[in-house]
């Protein structure tokens, strides 16, 4: 793996003791442009925007205050920012607004976040047993902003979206394998189930709310044949393993010059670890991830002692249901976004919907003990 530049470290250097008035003024001036009201009703450049049910923005007011919080957290001893670094918006969605100032990141979690659950998830990320696996939070608790809990973290360099060849498949797989082997004694008593099925169900609810679309029928048919637990309509049969709950390539960062770590604990919890492998599995099954990259990921996961799939036999009995659910989730979001944006589905989105269409002819492969 070739070393890459790290924006966090570079900005951190700017945080020298420059006590002049100008840097402070620079930081107090907002560097955040007002976001157009239509942001959530059309796709952003990279397609990562998400939408609430009404297609309206709900996070417009949190950005300036969250920016002030991240500047204050970056300079706890100073009255005002002393480093001159810009404050940038890393994500702005109803389920998570993330701003960065220098080497510090603040995240405003979704309104209505289960606070006890978040506290338990933070405790897991802060636990020494998870060092080198999950990015630890700055401090044990959450601040509050406009009814939304706010947590602080170190900035890390994300995976390069423009360079598929540099995707850290082996590292992601090894992190998941280690996460899944976390001993039960580490998990706090109040740790909720992972939220994978809940997120899939939410995407399907968005699809239904988006209005009629010709591609909706095969997606809803594929959803209907999934077992109730995968649709978040029954408890998960397997609550024995610590899972990330929303693994994708945007969930890996390298803070400083260190190794890759998993981020985003909002969906972390107990559950079926196959769910964490199921997004790459679904991408492979839908023809978006080449077989050799999928094989690299799966092999690295097995080599690192991951427990989600058998070590030396067909992984698909374990992966089938979660990979179907995540394909449905992805297809449902794609259709809802295309309806909201008044644009046709693209080739990649169509591949996922086609896979949902093929699912109807093949009932789910049910792994032992997962038949209900």
């Amino acid at each position: 793996m070739k070393p890459r530049g790290d924006g966090g470290a570079a900005d951190g250097k700017k945080c020298g003791r420059s006590w002049g008035a100008a840097p402070a003024l620079l930081c107090l001036r907002t560097h955040l442009r007002p976001v157009p009201e239509t942001l959530w009703t059309r796709p952003r450049g990279t397609g990562t925007g998400s939408y609430d049910f009404r297609g309206t923005r709900v996070t417009a007011d949190v950005l300036p205050a969250l920016s002030a919080k991240v500047r204050a957290a970056a300079h706890p001893a100073a009255e005002a920012c002393v480093c001159g670094a810009d404050t940038s918006v890393l994500a702005d969605r109803p389920d998570g607004t993330v701003v960065r100032h220098g080497a510090t990141v603040a995240k405003a979690h979704a309104a209505g976040t289960d606070l006890a659950g978040l506290a338990a998830r933070l405790a897991v990320a802060a636990h020494p047993a998870l060092a080198g696996i999950l990015l630890p939070p700055h401090g044990p608790g959450a601040a509050e902003l406009d009814g939304r809990p706010v947590t602080f973290w170190s900035y890390g360099t994300p995976v390069d979206r423009e360079d598929p060849d540099a995707a850290p498949w082996e590292e992601a797989a090894a992190l998941l394998a280690r996460l899944h082997r976390t001993p039960d004694s580490v998990l706090p008593p109040g740790l909720p189930p992972m939220r994978g099925p809940a997120k899939a169900a939410r995407a399907v609810a968005r699809l239904r709310a988006a209005g009629p679309h010709p591609a909706a029928a095969p997606v809803l048919r594929a959803w209907a044949v999934l077992p109730a637990w995968a649709r978040d309509e029954a408890p998960m049969p397997d609550l024995g393993t610590l899972c990330h709950g929303d693994l994708h390539l945007g969930q890996l960062v390298r803070p400083g010059s260190g190794d890759w770590l998993l981020i985003d604990i909002d969906d972390l919890g107990r559950g079926d670890p196959a769910w964490d492998l199921a997004r790459p599995a679904a991408w492979f099954a839908c023809g978006l991830l080449p077989p050799d990259e999928w094989t690299r990921f799966l092999t690295a996961y097995r080599k690192a002692g991951g427990t989600a799939v058998p070590a030396d036999s067909d992984p698909w009995p374990a992966l089938d249901v979660p990979a179907r659910a995540l394909s449905v989730q992805t297809a449902a979001q794609a259709i809802a976004k295309s309806v909201a944006g008044g644009r046709p589905l693209d080739e990649v989105e169509t591949s996922v919907i086609d896979a949902c269409d093929r699912m109807a002819a093949h009932p789910p492969e049910l792994a032992p003990d997962f038949a209900t």
Binding site: P164, P290, P291, A355, M359, P368, A371
Partner: protein, 98 residues
């Protein structure tokens, strides 16, 4: 589906595109209409491999995939070929979003 012999649940597997139900108890196998013929045909292809099609070398062994998966084209997906275009487009677009 229940095993007709021992009544344990049967699990569905896909082998070379053929759906097979196997009993989790007695390990017995249930084949649908035409599936035995499909397996026999596949066995014949296995024992008498024809020459590889020109210009399409099997650079990487095909990975097990679900029955609903997209057809695998066999070629090396790393740089171009069947996956090149969609891979580049899908990568930044879909492999990063929740």
């Amino acid at each position: 589906m229940q095993c007709p012999k021992c009544h344990a649940p049967m699990h569905t597997y896909n082998r070379n595109g053929v759906q097979i139900e196997q009993c989790s108890g007695c390990r017995g196998i249930f084949l649908d209409y035409g599936e035995l013929e499909s397996l026999t045909r596949l066995e014949g292809q296995w024992s008498q491999p024809g020459p590889p099609p020109p210009g399409a070398p099997q650079a990487y062994p095909s990975a097990p995939a679900p029955a609903w998966g997209a057809p695998q084209h066999g070629g090396h997906g790393g740089h171009g070929g069947h996956y090149g275009h969609k891979r580049q487009k899908g990568f930044g677009h879909m492999l990063f979003s929740s």
